[in-house]
């Protein structure tokens, strides 16, 4: 649905060059919620702004719904933008207009007649659960309500794609959850493809089917959340699912085990202890639902150095678990290329 190919963006100011995007390849499938995470300055904001050409990339292409956006200009570009909704961190509502008139604005741009505009705006407000606030002004709304108006407005042109630029970053955790639930709901009910950028891992955990990690203008990891969790050494997986706990003695091996799907139900740890007669201590463990799937992660400690534990670790791997040995991970950085 959204594909970027070797996207580069270089800012020039007073002879200095700053590379915000350094060859980004992204592929967002139709109907999925795709999260791009990264610290501030990683280039994720530039990336999402290149998708509707608020920012024109220096080179590379952006394709949305089969159309090469980067070739467009003027009227054609504006028409393409009406099919791409966007919500913003600071909502960007017009304070001089009522909630209803704010939602009508894109419909005015589309050239709808007055009565039809009103009807559609009220439908959209109903969809986001704000039908009763139609005649209020944005200043009378809470942050979460403002973002709902922002979402209603973004949906006015019946877009196939919704871009979310840190839409929940200015909201408290509870409001964040309700807005994410709304995005998820819209994604399912309308078949809307959502590309969101965020610096909060919890957002990815709550709604994303796929995710990408950005660092220094590049995508260092990407894939479906399940794939990422199954990728040894994945930084995103570790951040999504942190398990704490340090080794009790330097003379032991710390192993991170990830259970995915049905492997979560197997009694592997007790099998391990019984079969190899080793004392397994659990340093940390967590179970959670990520992108609708049951996922478990556990950090265990085995006595003795890695060399002495090759066989038990092999046993865990044979069981279909994803196993990472602490200290080994730096040696195996994984960059999964996206097609």
């Amino acid at each position: 649905m959204i594909t970027t190919t070797d996207l580069r963006k270089v800012y020039r100011s007073r002879g200095r060059e700053v590379t915000a995007l350094d060859g980004v390849d992204l592929r967002v499938r139709e109907g999925e919620v795709y999260g791009v995470v990264g610290r501030s300055g990683a280039g994720k904001s530039t990336l999402i702004r290149c998708v509707n050409l608020l920012e024109r990339p220096t080179s590379g292409t952006v394709t949305v719904d089969g159309q090469d956006i980067t070739r467009l200009a003027g009227r054609d570009l504006r028409r393409a933008r009406t099919r791409i909704g966007m919500v913003f961190q600071h909502f960007n509502l017009l304070t001089s207009r009522t909630v209803r008139a704010n939602v009508e604005l894109p419909l005015e741009i589309l050239g709808l007649a007055g009565r039809e505009r009103t009807r559609k705006a009220l439908d959209l407000l109903d969809l986001v659960g704000l039908a009763d606030k139609a005649n209020a002004y944005p200043a009378q709304l809470s942050g979460g309500q403002k973002q709902r108006v922002g979402i209603a407005r973004a949906l006015a042109g019946d877009p196939k794609v919704l871009l979310s630029d840190e839409a929940t970053s200015a909201l408290d955790p509870e409001t964040t959850r309700s807005i994410l639930a709304l995005l998820r709901d819209l994604n399912r009910r309308l078949g809307l493809t959502v590309l969101l950028i965020t610096h909060e891992m919890d957002v990815v955990k709550a709604v994303c089917d796929s995710a990408a990690l950005m660092k220094g203008g590049r995508v260092t990891e990407s894939g479906t959340v399940a794939e990422l969790l199954a990728t040894p050494g994945s930084e995103l997986a570790r951040e999504l699912f942190p398990v704490g706990g340090d080794a009790s003695t330097p003379d032991s091996t710390v192993v991170d085990v990830t259970f995915l799907g049905e492997t979560a139900a197997q009694p592997v740890i007790s099998q391990l202890a019984r079969t190899y007669n080793v004392d397994v201590s659990i340093l940390g463990a967590a179970m959670d639902t990520v992108a609708g799937k049951q996922v478990g992660r556990m950090r265990i400690e085995l006595p003795g150095r890695f060399e002495e534990n090759v066989v038990p670790i092999g046993f865990l791997r044979e069981r279909g678990l994803q196993v990472e040995v602490a200290g080994e991970e730096q040696a195996a950085p994984v960059v999964e290329a996206v097609r």
Partner: protein, 224 residues
Amino acid sequence: MTWDIMKPLLETATGETLRMVAWSTLFAVLGGVPLGVLLVLTDRGGLLRNTVVNKAVGAVVNVGRSLPFIILLIALIPFTKAVLGTYIGAEAMIVPLSVGAIPFYARLVETSVREVDHGLTEAVQAMGGSTWTVVRKVLLPQSLPSLVAGLTTTVIALVGYSAMAGTVGGGGLGNLAVTYGYQRFETGLMLVTVALLIVLVTALQLIGDLAVRGLARRGRARTT
């Protein structure tokens, strides 16, 4: 001088002042708003970034702003004569008053429009709006209270300018104050003229403030 003599003089002069101010305010809006918006749009980071146009318009506005009005008034006499056929009287003064007020208001418009959150412009662009849509639906409506406040300042400045215009044959309250009050030592008339001007300026400021408050209220309204 008795009130019976003063009254018709004051009535005519007030009428002339109001006419001069009203017409030149109209031209100030017609000229100042587009120029002010153009200055913002063509500036760095603007939607129609164009350094040449920006610098050119900026220079014209600055020249208009930096000339003392009394100089502008006299310098424009040939121009006024060419346009209207005369340079005497309240109507003729509308030309230099407008020429003085347009750059004055243009700078105030520029400041007001620049204050509008750039995020709103982006939001409208993202929904497929053209530059013209941005101007019409975002920049002007969002800055309206501030534009009206600037207009109040402009109108009051024009009252002052129009008094100056009186000294070169423009009529109005300024002319009255100079010809009768100053040159003929009619202190009574002078005081009445000054009082009238104070009332006029106060009334204009009051109307302007009320309008700004009314416009700004919607944007700031809170639920109680």
